[in-house]
Subunit: 183 residues, 2 copies
Amino acid sequence: MTLSPNCSELDTSRPTNAEQCPVTPDLFRGLFRQHGAGVAIVTASIDGQRAGFTATSLVSVSAEPPVIAFNISQRSSSWRVIAGQDYVGVHILAKRHEPLATRFATSGIDRFAGVGAQAGPHAVPILRDVDTWMVARIRNRIPHGDSSLVIAQVTDAVVGETAEAPLLYQNGRYLDIADDYQI
Amino acid sequence: MTLSPNCSELDTSRPTNAEQCPVTPDLFRGLFRQHGAGVAIVTASIDGQRAGFTATSLVSVSAEPPVIAFNISQRSSSWRVIAGQDYVGVHILAKRHEPLATRFATSGIDRFAGVGAQAGPHAVPILRDVDTWMVARIRNRIPHGDSSLVIAQVTDAVVGETAEAPLLYQNGRYLDIADDYQI
């Protein structure tokens, strides 16, 4: 059992509690290190400037209307574009896209350099190597701390036909799924 | 490439587009069949009645303050409790919890029957077999179609110490991750 540093002398057979002991950022991150996730790349373009980032927070909210949500740090290099543009591209990554996921999570580089991409609906950058993607119109950006939960309605979509193993992430690394994977 | 049924005669080299062709629920579900997810069980209790469901939509929104989000169908048997109670328990599942995940996704049964659970903070049912869990206070329920995106602030948390392979879900089934899994 891991408790936040301020509470190390408390009875560790009981949960930390807000009244006794706050859930610190470190404790919170410890919770989510144990949670797996699928991986997507979110892209957008504003005034000809492209932005994109790897997201492990993509979720389906509603099929009718088709609504998704994802999270973004306001300290992210992509935040200015996501804050200023209403349309985003969301690419669902397969296992073979791990290098692309790493690239779009790396700071201080031109993430699009050498990556095949073309302007899709609403000038959203679409990554050529990814078969399953959507374009969505942002309906809401809900700030919490220094992150924003973005809620968006899907306006355009392409689903790749090939059955592929998904890219999965947990605790700072991509996971190997069994070789006999089949959809 | 899969298009919505109404658009089968369109040029399939282009994405479906809202102006030409709506993103149907089937097409939307096809997108998310390719997306992997971690698995959690969300619980709550109201007037002594316990509810719980398996969720593949848990995401971390912010570490400071500690905020999470998850999705729930308003047609879910758990919805009445989640709509009426401000505190929920969120259990992060490991691979060994697959039977528990299946149980809490099965309709028409008493999901808690035979499952060790005790009342935690705010009477939230805590599943004894799950080592990593949190209690969170709901801040917002955002309806979209017949689902609600629930945003909640974590008030209590326990992180299990044991390194365990996470439970992962995609396209209607749980995934096998490689046996050499190590955190």
